[in-house]
């Protein structure tokens, strides 16, 4: 009977981590639906980029208030998770505070965790106020209605609850240590939770043990729940920010990909020795679809981008189109891509591994043409993103589809393109007049 808690704990851990692993597997298979793109080169630069942007949070501090608070919550979470290791070991081995023999070091650790926990609670309260009382503009745009809004609030609530449980557990432990109850060895320092003493002092040892155990179990259950919540939430960024910044572009932002399939075709057209009527070789690959109308046409990195999006809206608040009241919002582009990727992922699961056309696609059903054509390709969104997401690349790929596969560009753009084709300039001027300026006054 003595081992019952250990067994329950072990099962809890297996279920929690197992479910999480299943979701990560699903995530990977959805991202693998994207087209290939080599982002494995220059690993030195990539590690540095990840260290700077994800670990070092370099983009976050562009907005100092949110940035500093985010660093507190981020550091708090990472460091407090050392505590989770102890909890897991205690749970499996049936020990209590297994790291206590570290002595002074242990005191400092627990003390630091407590202070961080308090700071996290404070930061989260401020975050909540910014979203729900001040209602900062970037948190109340149309794409943030419904689930995204609730999701953002739930994350804040879960964080507060987890921190509160951690402090309650320590507070009760501290009391039990004072009462010298067996098993509750003198260990740790409690700079924050000792202030809970006035509420706990009158309690009997049994009630305190019950409180301590309840907080302990809820804390670890909560953490496992949170781990599994990630996949359904924008909070997934705490994991994906790392691979996403690692694989993020290292090129100048103005450099757009050249489509290789087009290069081949153009070269052939310009090669005077090529026989235009030659039949294509039998093993010629099926011509690639140009651009993207659905998520399978995007590259895997763009799908990883979509799952990494924190829905912070920094991109949208810097977007010139959005600032001037256009429907385009780069954040909405990323959210729509993720929604559609999930839709396709579920479809594939339900149909035993293959996608069954559902009469929907990313274009029109999730992202409208009005949004796509409003973009100035200014890269403000790319610059603003704290986790190296590139909404512009999706917009460009979808424009490419509209123009190259559907010939459905806005009329004025068709005029511009016809001009380039005929006169080598976007306006109807004759190429032979290109140097006239030289003699004009």
């Amino acid at each position: 009977m003595d081992f019952l808690p250990n067994i329950i704990f072990g099962l809890l851990l297996i279920v929690g981590i197992g479910f999480f692993a299943r979701n990560i597997g699903r995530l990977k298979s959805v991202i693998a639906l994207g087209r290939p793109e080599d982002r494995g080169d220059q690993s030195g630069k990539r590690w540095a980029q990840m260290a700077r942007i994800a670990l070092g949070q370099s983009k976050m501090v562009v907005r100092p208030i949110a940035g500093i608070m985010h660093i507190i919550v981020y550091l708090g979470f990472i460091i407090i998770n050392i505590e989770v290791l102890e909890i897991i070991l205690d749970g499996l081995l049936g020990t209590h505070r297994i790291f206590a023999p570290l002595g002074k070091v242990y005191d400092v650790l627990i003390g630091t965790f407590e202070i961080l926990a308090l700071l996290v609670i404070l930061a989260v309260v401020i975050f909540w106020i910014r979203r729900n009382v001040i209602r900062l503009k970037r948190f109340v745009t149309p794409e943030m209605k419904g689930w995204p809004k609730r999701d953002a609030d739930y994350i804040l609530y879960i964080e507060v609850v987890l921190m509160a449980l951690f402090l309650t557990m320590n507070g009760a432990d501290y009391q039990l240590q004072q009462l010298q109850v067996a098993d509750y060895i003198q260990a740790g320092s409690f700079p924050v939770s000792q202030f809970l003493s006035p509420f706990l002092e009158g309690m009997s040892a049994e009630s305190l043990v019950l409180l301590e155990r309840t907080a302990w179990w809820l804390h670890i259950t909560g953490i496992l729940f949170f781990l599994n919540y990630l996949y359904y939430s924008k909070h997934l960024h705490i994991l994906l920010a790392f691979p996403n910044t690692y694989y993020g572009s290292l090129e100048p932002k103005g450099k757009f990909n050249n489509l290789e399939a087009v290069t081949k075709e153009v070269k052939l057209m310009m090669d005077p020795t090529a026989d235009p009527f030659a039949a294509p070789p039998a093993d010629a690959p099926v011509p690639e679809k140009f651009g993207a109308s659905d998520i399978m046409d995007l590259k895997w990195i763009q799908l990883l981008n979509a799952y990494t999006c924190t829905e912070c809206g920094r991109c949208t608040s810097e977007c010139p189109a959005n600032q001037t009241g256009k429907k385009l919002s780069p954040r909405a582009i990323m959210m729509a891509t993720r929604d559609r990727a999930e839709e396709v992922g579920k479809n594939i699961l339900q149909n035993k591994g293959s996608f069954t056309p559902d009469g929907k696609q990313l274009l029109d059903d999730h992202i409208s043409r009005e949004e796509l054509w409003a973009c100035t390709s200014c890269n403000a969104c790319v610059e603003a993103c704290p986790v190296s997401i590139d909404p512009l690349s999706i917009i460009m790929d979808m424009r490419q589809y509209l123009v190259m596969e559907k010939s459905e560009a806005p009329t004025e753009l068709n005029v511009m393109m016809t001009n380039i084709e005929n006169n080598g300039a976007p306006w109807p001027f004759n190429q032979m007049d290109r140097l006239n300026w030289k003699n004009e006054n």
Binding site: K255, V262, T263, M269, T324, M416, M417, A425, F429
Partner: protein, 263 residues
């Protein structure tokens, strides 16, 4: 305005068996747009004064393909690019300077993958070099104490990280450089990029160039400096829209320098 401009073409140079040091890529706007042609000429006056051995392609130049690519027409873009690359490689071009950030970006970043490898400079970087080498001096003084705000073209600044060269040139004019609330990495677009120049904007509350002009006006400038012919058009229209064209001029950095040099 001094005497006639010296603008040799590559074809002429070739016929004389000469090779210029640098090719000036004029761009469509610089060739055809009335306002932008003035920028082109101002830049040529500086080149002439500094005695730079340069040439243009003239009628052999064609659109870089930037607006086609950004509108989604990769095919047309690559046709343009490869045609241009054929011409450029035919003349054995090594170094290019251009007054248009869109051409600059495309030639520098997107042509190499298609076989066009050149050293490409934006004219503000090139002018800064000339200044450092003492080939141009800025003693004019007519800008002393003038408030100048500089608008970062997206394809020069954010896209390629060139923020300082144009600013340094403006500071050298003894002018007071005042920054807008969105500048450098966070500079707001003028609204022309991504082929927007050639179409009506989507439905919204405001045009992008008006928003940007308002930001510029907040700095109470005497001059709005730009470094892109398209930005110039957008900001000029914005200033007109605000009925401020009498008091505030929109000029290219090259024009500022040509003016200061009294060219």
């Amino acid at each position: 305005m001094s005497d006639t401009l010296q603008v040799p073409t590559m074809a002429e140079m070739m016929a004389q068996g000469k090779e210029p040091e640098i090719l000036f890529w004029v761009g469509c706007s610089g060739s055809f747009d009335d306002r932008a042609k003035k920028i082109t000429k101002a830049f040529v006056r500086i080149l002439n004064k500094a005695g730079i051995n340069f040439a243009v392609l003239g009628t052999e130049e064609s659109c870089s393909g930037d607006p086609a690519k950004r509108a989604g027409n990769e095919f047309l873009f690559q046709m343009q690019a490869m045609t241009n690359i054929q011409v450029l490689n035919g003349y054995n071009i090594k170094k290019i300077v251009t007054t248009c950030p869109h051409c600059f970006n495309t030639l520098k970043n997107e042509y190499p993958g298609l076989g066009g490898n050149y050293q490409v400079l934006h004219h503000t970087s090139f002018l800064k070099q000339l200044l450092e080498e003492g080939k141009i001096g800025l003693e004019g003084g007519s800008y002393k104490g003038k408030r100048i705000t500089y608008h970062d073209p997206c394809y020069l600044g954010r896209a390629n990280g060139i923020f300082e060269a144009p600013r340094e040139l403006i500071r050298k004019l003894d002018a007071e450089l005042v920054e807008m609330k969105s500048c450098k990495q966070r500079g707001l677009c003028c609204g022309a990029g991504g082929a927007q120049m050639f179409k009506e904007p989507e439905k919204g509350d405001k045009d992008v160039n008006i928003e940007r002009t308002e930001q510029a006006l907040e700095t109470q400038p005497d001059i709005i400096a730009a470094a892109c012919p398209f930005c110039n058009t957008m900001m000029t229209d914005g200033v007109k829209g605000k009925e401020k064209e009498q008091s505030i001029k929109v000029v290219d950095v090259a024009e500022l320098i040509a003016d200061a040099e009294d060219l």
